[in-house]
């Protein structure tokens, strides 16, 4: 079986945020503007969290890219009254936008706060809409959205592999964030393939999960820094 997962090396990550902008470009994520952003409605499927520890001059900064953890036991799934969010056989926590009726229960229940709600219909000042990715639907008002692990890229690679009558190769699929990362901090692949790079990284002693105590079984692995 395939189980898509991601490893993020926090010792490589510098917090530059290129991943977050790459995600906007790839996934047609709208910007909401100053007023709505001030109300906490900015949408960043991928965000950089910054933490300070200590006081000047012995203050340390840590950055952590946070996206949907694609949980094995996802708290967002059982609370959806219309089954708009579900677990795919390949381990993705998927959203069916057309089913979503906007109760926002899922966002309420997500301990990682990685779900974003479309309060308004998306607007792209012409001709900015010419940039929109035709492989990704633009979400309408009233619908929840979040990181998909760039499912369109997964499907593309699977189609190519199927045409060439082979399996998808490790490293063939790169999510937009992983492709962009100047530090190569983000590795995407199949956690169930013991030979894959992501599975290899998942077995190192630097491995951690976000809020592991909640037993959500995230598919995103963080590699601890050395600082």
């Amino acid at each position: 079986m395939t189980r898509w997962g991601m490893a993020i090396d926090t010792d490589r990550c510098t917090g530059c945020g290129a991943c977050a902008v790459a995600c906007h470009a790839e996934n047609n994520i709208q910007t909401v503007g100053e007023v709505e952003a001030a109300r906490g409605r900015a949408m960043h499927w991928m965000r950089i969290e910054r933490y300070y520890e200590g006081v000047f001059p012995d203050v340390k900064v840590r950055f952590q890219p946070v996206l949907c953890q694609q949980c094995g036991h996802a708290p967002c799934e059982p609370v959806c009254p219309v089954y708009a969010t579900y677990r795919t056989p390949e381990g993705l926590n998927a959203m069916v936008y057309a089913r979503c009726i906007g109760t926002r229960y899922c966002a309420n229940n997500c301990p990682y706060t990685t779900r974003y709600f479309n309060w308004f219909a998306p607007e792209f000042d012409a001709p900015l809409e010419r940039q929109l990715n035709p492989s990704v639907s633009v979400r309408p008002a009233g619908v929840m959205e979040k990181c998909t692990f760039c499912v369109q890229r997964i499907q593309d690679a699977q189609e190519v592999a199927a045409q060439e009558e082979r399996e998808v190769r490790d490293g063939e699929i790169k999510t937009a964030c992983s492709q962009s990362c100047p530090a190569q901090a983000i590795t995407f692949g199949d956690l169930d393939d013991p030979e894959s790079l992501v599975a290899l990284l998942a077995r190192t002693e630097r491995t951690t999960h976000l809020l592991e105590d909640l037993s959500t079984e995230p598919s995103v692995i963080y590699l601890r820094g050395g600082r």
């Binding site: 902008v21 952003a37 300070y52 100047p182």
Partner: protein
């Protein structure tokens, strides 16, 4: 069965029926061969291009669907970025499709500076430039351009020389002039050297903001990450000595928050410690004394001056001395004090003591393909931008009657203390090559728009940041949105229409023709050109995104060439009533201002302050408490030169007595996303210069801060409240969770 499989299965059946008798229909008809024919409607093609959003010049590939650019990714073969792209690079698409982009030439239709423009036909605009040049004496022309080290810059030098006008001035990050001069003194290189960070074991950066935007963020981020994690047996360490908690300092293993302007003292004291240890070979010590003949300050003196505990200075010196591959870089705000040249020379000179010149994990000489050689005058000398400012103010040199500004925004970027904003209004004719109504374009009589790099033939040689020569080469990937062209093509069009004495020196039909001709002429010197014809070589180069040099050709810099200025104390502008040192910086949000008109970047939180959609000033909790300022308040920041209002960010990582503000905000226009948003920090910066250079000492201004009232600041993160630094939310504690993992017996 998935819907897709169902459709495929039924169409196979249908195709087999339809094409019965046509051989094997699955091969010819059914199997989708879309990847090989990306020109089909709705299908993707990927094309190489060169990012020109900052001076680094990364190689990019652009996804094009139905003629529209959709996504930018990195060219893995390009030695500068090796496949990575930064936030600003992605946002190039929002320059291309920006709703406020200027697509046709514009002529001022009201008072200059009022923002009233009317469209003018392209050919008329070129004719207007030609007649403007003819109407003034050549020595009253001034040119400001970008791409100092590249072919476009060389063309501007040639253009000025052909006209008999003063040499062009180039707008770049001001500290680069200081860093180049320091590298010449300390290392003997004519340009910025290359620092092999990826292979070093211990890197001390004295002020150099390598992980921040502006230098070559993608290249150095990759090098930094590889230094830490690409080698299985060693993890390199990074030490940042800088007054501000920059993105670079935030990622360092050790941060030394030195008092601003004392960076050189730190470097000299470390040198003294290393020399005293007796581990430096006599030859290296002798070469170092060429640079600094005098005695170094003691670590105790340095501790007092730099306001860093002595034991930490000694620890850093020891770590550097004992590292197998130690490396020291310098620049950034350390270069932007009055004593900046001495600061950076002191930093770079440490490499001589560490013996790393030309060694893996050390310092290398800059590399270039030398294509500008026959394009520019044989003895190219640029006008310093400070000299041009003095001309504009009417203080020295010939007065300026015609100002040509190409792909630069000096009114926004230069210190207010230089008086450009006022002086430019007195220039008779101002012609600006720009795609947006930035602060300089607003002052123009005539605006000629530019094509983005995606709409034009592009050739750009990265200045030294990759260690090897790298010329990005690309054809246009999308049809142009408007009339805009490459600045070099506009220059060539104007030159051709000028009198024969000028026109005869610009015989190339286009920038592309110039690049092809130059590569052809120097073919034998191009990497990997053996046995190839010029056209085949160029085609192959364009197919992979450029011409890239060979790492085997990297060479050692020669070493110190002369004595550096001894370390004077840093001078600052502003008396005791100005209590704070001001450190401007480039955030990944807007960069130097280029990103200000793009919604992706405006809504992108700054990594440290987490501010979106606006500017801010960073204050330490102690200073804020004394001034009665709360996080998010509106504050007035005043210097001797100017005054701006912005929001306060109270940040536990700010050194008391120092405040910082990001560049690239506070535009009068520049499009709907940038207009009137935030404040321009350069409005505060005074006229001071770095001793021994013409560069602005932009870190030498002192300011005072007063509370104006409550404000509404847009932040992505949470506010800093109370006396405790913002700490981890709900349970994220990596070390504890890691212990859990281990207790459970390597569950993952």
């Amino acid at each position: 069965m998935r819907r897709r499989d169902f459709v495929k299965a039924t169409s196979v059946a249908a195709g087999a029926t339809l094409l019965e008798g046509c051989g094997s229909p699955e091969e010819q008809f059914i199997v989708q061969r879309v990847r090989q024919t990306p020109e089909l409607p709705g299908e993707s093609g990927w094309r190489f291009s060169v990012c020109r959003q900052c001076a680094a010049g990364c190689g990019i590939v652009v996804r094009v669907v139905d003629g529209d650019a959709k996504k930018i990714e990195g060219n893995q073969a390009h030695p500068v970025n090796k496949g990575g792209v930064c936030a600003l690079g992605h946002s190039l698409l929002q320059e291309l499709y920006n709703p406020d982009r200027i697509l046709q030439a514009q002529r001022s239709s009201g008072n200059r500076g009022s923002g009233a423009f009317e469209a003018v036909a392209w050919d008329d605009a070129i004719a207007q430039v030609v007649s403007a040049i003819g109407a003034v004496p050549a020595d009253r022309i001034a040119i400001v351009a970008s791409d100092r080290s590249g072919l476009t810059g060389a063309l501007w030098r040639r253009f000025a020389a052909a006209l008999g006008a003063p040499a062009p001035a180039f707008l770049e990050a001001p500290e680069l002039e200081v860093e180049r001069r320091a590298a010449q003194l300390a290392l003997g290189t004519t340009d910025l050297p290359y620092f092999d960070i990826a292979n070093a074991d211990c890197v001390l950066s004295i002020g150099a903001p390598i992980l921040d935007p502006g230098r070559s963020q993608v290249h150095f981020t990759r090098a930094f990450a590889d230094m830490r994690r690409a080698r299985p047996t060693r993890r390199g360490r990074f030490i940042q000595a800088e007054a501000r908690m920059s993105l670079t300092a935030a990622n360092a293993d050790v941060w030394l928050p030195v008092r601003p302007g004392t960076e050189g003292v730190l470097a000299r004291a470390i040198a003294g410690h290393i020399l005293a240890s007796g581990s430096v070979p006599a030859d290296a010590a002798r070469r170092y004394r060429v640079l600094f003949p005098g005695d170094a300050p003691s670590t105790a003196d340095a501790a007092t001056q730099c306001d860093v505990p002595e034991e930490r200075i000694v620890a850093v010196a020891e770590e550097l001395r004992t590292a197998e591959r130690g490396l020291v870089i310098g620049g950034g705000s350390a270069a932007a004090h009055s004593n900046g040249l001495a600061n950076v020379a002191a930093a770079l000179g440490l490499n001589v003591l560490l013996g790393n010149l030309g060694r893996v994990g050390g310092v290398f000489a800059p590399a270039s393909l030398g294509l500008t050689r026959t394009v520019e005058p044989s003895n190219p000398a640029d006008s310093p931008i400070a000299e041009l400012a003095a001309r504009l103010r009417g203080e020295s040199g010939e007065p300026v009657e015609l100002l040509i500004v190409a792909d630069a925004d000096p009114v926004h970027a230069l210190p207010a203390g230089w008086g450009i904003r006022e002086a430019i209004g007195r220039v008779q004719t101002v012609i600006v090559l720009s795609s947006f109504r930035d602060d300089t374009a607003l002052q123009a009589n005539l605006i000629l728009p530019l094509a983005t790099e995606l709409e034009r033939f592009e050739a750009y040689e990265s200045p030294t940041s990759a260690g090897v020569a790298a010329l990005g080469l690309a054809e246009a990937v999308v049809e142009p949105m408007g009339d805009g062209q490459h600045p070099a093509d506009i220059l060539l069009a104007v030159a051709r229409a000028l009198p024969e004495s000028v026109a005869s020196r610009f015989t190339w039909a286009s920038y592309e023709a110039l690049v092809r001709a130059r590569v052809g002429e120097d073919l034998a010197r191009m990497p990997g050109s053996a046995g190839a014809t010029a056209s085949a070589y160029l085609s192959a180069a364009i197919d992979r995104g450029g011409i890239f040099g060979d790492a085997a050709a990297m060479s050692a810099p020669s070493g110190p060439t002369g004595a550096a200025p001894e370390l004077p104390g840093a001078l600052s502008e502003g008396g005791p009533e100005y209590a704070f040192g001001l450190l401007p910086f480039a955030s990944v949000k807007n960069g130097d201002g280029r990103g200000a008109n793009r919604p992706w970047l405006q809504e992108h939180p700054d990594p440290l302050s987490t501010v979106m959609w606006g500017s801010w000033v960073e204050l330490s909790p102690a200073d804020a408490a004394e001034l009665g300022i709360h996080d998010g308040d509106r504050v007035r920041v005043e210097s001797q030169t100017g005054s701006v209002e912005t929001h306060a960010v109270i940040d536990p990582a700010v050194r008391p007595g120092v405040v910082s503000m990001p560049l690239g905000h506070g535009y009068a226009d520049n499009g709907r996303y940038a207009q009137g948003r935030g404040a321009n920090v350069m409005a505060l910066v005074g006229a001071g210069r770095v001793d021994g250079t013409t560069a602005s000492a932009w870190a030498a201004t002192r300011v005072r801060i007063t509370r104006v009232g409550e404000g509404t600041m847009v932040r992505f993160g949470r506010r800093y409240e109370g006396g405790e630094p913002e700490l981890i939310p709900v349970g994220w504690a990596p070390q504890q969770t890691s212990q859990l993992v281990q207790i459970r017996g390597a569950r993952v």
